[in-house]
Symmetry: C2
Subunit: 537 residues, 2 copies
């Protein structure tokens, strides 16, 4: 067979050749919409690649982006790897300390940045001694600020005859740092091969099912886990892509869904909670023009979200993955694939509440003490994974303890698999609550509390306790106008849990603090409430 | 990222782990049905691999099969490559001379054969000096004939502790010889990588769409172009597989479709022509229990077949590929992917009559004299392809003229591409008719003739002519009871074609002779009728 490497270059070539006329829609911060074609994107990606090489990019060198979801970021997705570089997407919601650490650790010499994020760079620049070139994309439409290279002019100053390097499929194409829930952020390099194969999985009927007929709304930030892969799978399949820029509030997303007949999106549960809240309040009879599928991940969605979205004809699926696995690598799917949708609605829908079945480029197991546990839905142990898009190391950091002796990644998550192959993530090891030697699973309490009227958000954390070691405490956000009766809430829970599993306290907060990647800031909460139950250590 | 090779071993591991309980149904020649699970298939594949190694199989060595579509053949699909061997599927419909040539050219030392095909081997065996081991699969149920190793006993005599070799994804997994329409049959080696990536393409929404919810009827002979890939894509996705053995007549296929709720199949047009004939005659109100998609290829189907099958709720798509491309590499799909099926029915359905759009592991171009022609639907040239599943050489045969200087396979087919990306195969170069310096395309005449009432099959060939060089002659098979009026047929054609394009003669035959792979035997027909028009050379 021919030596035909699976690279992003091949995807760039293909999208230009086969889907050149298909649209990529970008919404600017001012709400105005820009339309490009994949031909534009591919050609501008090539220009960017040539310009980077001309500017001195070395093979394998990182090029940082501080950008929202828009066409120029998509061009960087293709153009930086085409130059032999590594696209280093930066999360602008991280703390300044983390950003400085990450950029210096990655050795970023070049930065592509939106004009609307420039103040962030200016606050950091004195601490970034390696950074040499800053190119500003005029996303606001206000024009490039004085003293910076303007992205569009910069990429036009290329030698169009400059040949791009040969790329091998195992070459690194992009780099992302973990959110850093424990310790310093860690970098993960993604190969061309991993990203392309991940896109193939998403295009499978049993994956996201991305196809040429789809209009994909790219809600997951492109600085976060490769936008969960959707930009690449849209390019692979020629799906139309809608990039919302910074506006991902419910009303803005609904406008785009309606205007472009969106059929597929992905994002953290909070986004879809807000969307369904808005629909229920304002448009109870709303229906999408075409079938709308949504993949959610990053945190377990409340179980009620599935039924609430289903009432609007929206099909919600769960995915699970982590920075170390390129993006989502399991996806929920019916246990009986032959059952019709209507039959499914009446049946036990346990599969919806689990994190799904592994994509065919990864292998998932539950293990404890080096021994694989049975797939019985009960035996809980560490989730371990291996596969095409699973990293075997961290970038410039030696942490061999994160892999088993036989080469599986230790995810640090606790979970089960059931006989249908569904993975269920119970909790991160560090988030489980150990009370009197027994485990309490925060998520189960959270789901029950969210069922109670007037509760909008809920997080259950472990709080130190002198006698029991740890005890659960529930932190809740009330719906506007609700007057929470905590005693009644506890009575509601008492019907479902053993007495020792009930929270010792229920605290109402105005909001639940979250990390830069949108997850509940559990470590911070544990620190804040460490002495709530009077523990002396 | 981890080094995680894409091999059939991975598929075997995965199907056992994730879809172990899913059924593989085999129909024996006596009509009885055997049911296995993928777990059985994978385990027996492993036993076969161990037994082959124990029997002295060397890495990369070919193991021949002369088998119908059944579970033991599927086990060999997985087991031979797992042993580091190369599965060499033999087409038992080839001439004895071709079979002897192929087996000796491939150096087959071991043969797995159905008891029902044993007489074929016995007729050849004196001319197969290299063959050492013949293992007979008792497919008929009559018991293994005296003097041969019985497949089931043979694979049970293994050392279960025997470790299987490490396989690299570029290692050869299978070998298939071309039908040999010109010259000697030529062998094509398929790598693990090519077969796995092909399966991924088939599992894509825009591919065959094979998924876990499917029940796949494996009609394409497994000795022919990897059964067009369906065995591997069913294994990749965990689709249920129904293997019909030797019975692929319309009634037998309908029985299986009904009994198992088949949702997907593939096969040459003749199979589906017979099926629709049977349905129209016997069950005009028949409908499949679940949505039924069929992929056809190997020859252009008559245009009327699409509408005839659609009346029974069967969706027919065209694929195109060749031995040199592992199997189907283009697949027809609507030009406007957003259009609903009902809208499509009313629209210009030209896309249905073309050979489709390339899968995302291949690149297709139309070229003449080293220059790529525009995708305008008109400019005809040689179809050239490259990609993951396209061969760069023939097995033990040096034919560099089959590739262009820049590395594309020259298919020898003439075709066009239109602005929607549809490939249209006009004809093999050698099948076009050159009359008075102008080209006549046999397929266009054939389609028009098939529209005429009472015509069941039709082939138009070139016949030598002293004045014009070549002239078209139509060979037709009449429907039972039809009394063909050839003058009326010619009048029907006169409305659609220029006078010089009309056939010089219309001959009715009892049947159209076909080659061993089911294609019209055009070369043979050209020889038979070489002097029909009185040409003197």
């Amino acid at each position: 067979m021919m030596d035909f490497p699976l690279t992003l270059n091949w995807l760039r070539h293909r999208v230009q050749r086969e889907f050149g006329a298909t649209e990529v829609v970008t919404r600017r911060p001012d709400g105005r919409v820009l339309t490009h074609t994949y031909r534009d994107i591919a050609l501008r990606g090539t220009l960017l690649a040539q310009r980077l090489i001309q500017a001195g990019l070395r093979p394998g060198e990182r090029v940082a982006t501080l950008m929202w979801n828009h066409h120029a970021h998509l061009e960087a997705y293709l153009g930086v790897p085409a130059a032999g570089g590594v696209l280093h997407t930066l999360n602008h919601r991280l703390s300044q300390d983390d950003l400085v650490y990450i950029m210096n650790h990655a050795g970023d010499r070049m930065l592509l940045i939106d004009d609307t994020l420039l103040s962030l760079y200016e606050a950091l620049k004195d601490r970034l001694p390696m950074l040499e070139q800053v190119v500003v994309f005029n996303f606001s439409g206000a024009g490039c600020p004085e003293g910076y290279a303007d992205h569009d002019s910069w990429i036009s100053q290329t030698d169009a005859a400059l040949a791009l390097p040969e790329i091998a499929e195992n070459d690194a194409a992009s780099l992302c740092y973990t959110g850093g829930s424990t310790g310093r952020p860690k970098g993960v390099l993604y190969s061309h091969r991993a990203l392309v194969m991940h896109a193939f999985c998403q295009a499978m009927v049993d994956g996201y099912g991305v196809g040429r007929a789809d209009t994909v709304l790219g809600v997951v930030p492109m600085f976060h886990g490769n936008g969960w892969g959707l930009p690449f799978s849209a390019i692979l399949t020629g799906a139309r892509l809608v990039l919302p820029g910074p506006r991902v509030d419910a009303d803005s997303l609904l406008e785009l869904i309606e205007a472009y007949g969106v059929t597929l999106s992905a994002g953290v549960p909070t986004v879809w909670l807000k969307l369904v809240n808005a629909l229920e309040k304002k448009s109870p009879s709303w229906r999408p023009a075409r079938r709308l599928r949504i993949v959610t991940g990053g945190a377990a969605p409340p179980e009620s979200l599935f039924a609430r979205l289903a009432r609007f004809g929206i099909d919600l699926r769960q995915g699970w993955g982590m920075t170390e696995t390129a993006s989502v690598i399991t996806l929920s799917a019916p246990d009986d694939p032959g059952a019709s949708e209507s039959a499914l609605a009446d049946e036990d829908r346990n599969w919806r509440y689990r994190q799904g079945k592994p994509m065919p480029i990864v292998d998932v197991r539950i293990a404890t003490d080096g021994r694989e546990l049975p797939a019985d839905g009960v035996s809980a142990g560490e989730v371990q994974v291996r596969g095409v898009c699973v990293t075997d190391s961290y970038y410039a950091q030696h942490l061999p303890e994160r892999w088993t002796d036989d080469g599986w990644l230790r995810t640090g998550d606790i979970g089960t698999r059931d006989a249908h192959g569904n993975l269920q993530i119970l909790e991160r090891t560090e988030d489980m609550i150990k009370s009197g030697g027994e485990w309490i699973i925060p998520q189960e309490l959270e789901n029950a509390i969210l069922d109670y009227p007037g509760i909008q958000e809920c997080t259950v954390i472990a709080v130190p306790h002198d006698k029991w070691g740890e005890r659960p405490v529930a932190l809740v956000v009330e719906a506007r106008g609700a007057a929470l009766d905590t005693a009644a809430l506890l009575r509601h829970l008492a019907g479902r849990f053993a007495k020792w599993q009930l929270p010792d306290a229920v605290l109402a907060l105005p909001e639940i603090p979250r990390t830069a990647v949108g997850k509940v800031a559990r470590r911070e909460l544990r620190r804040t409430y460490a002495h709530l139950l009077g523990a002396t250590h």
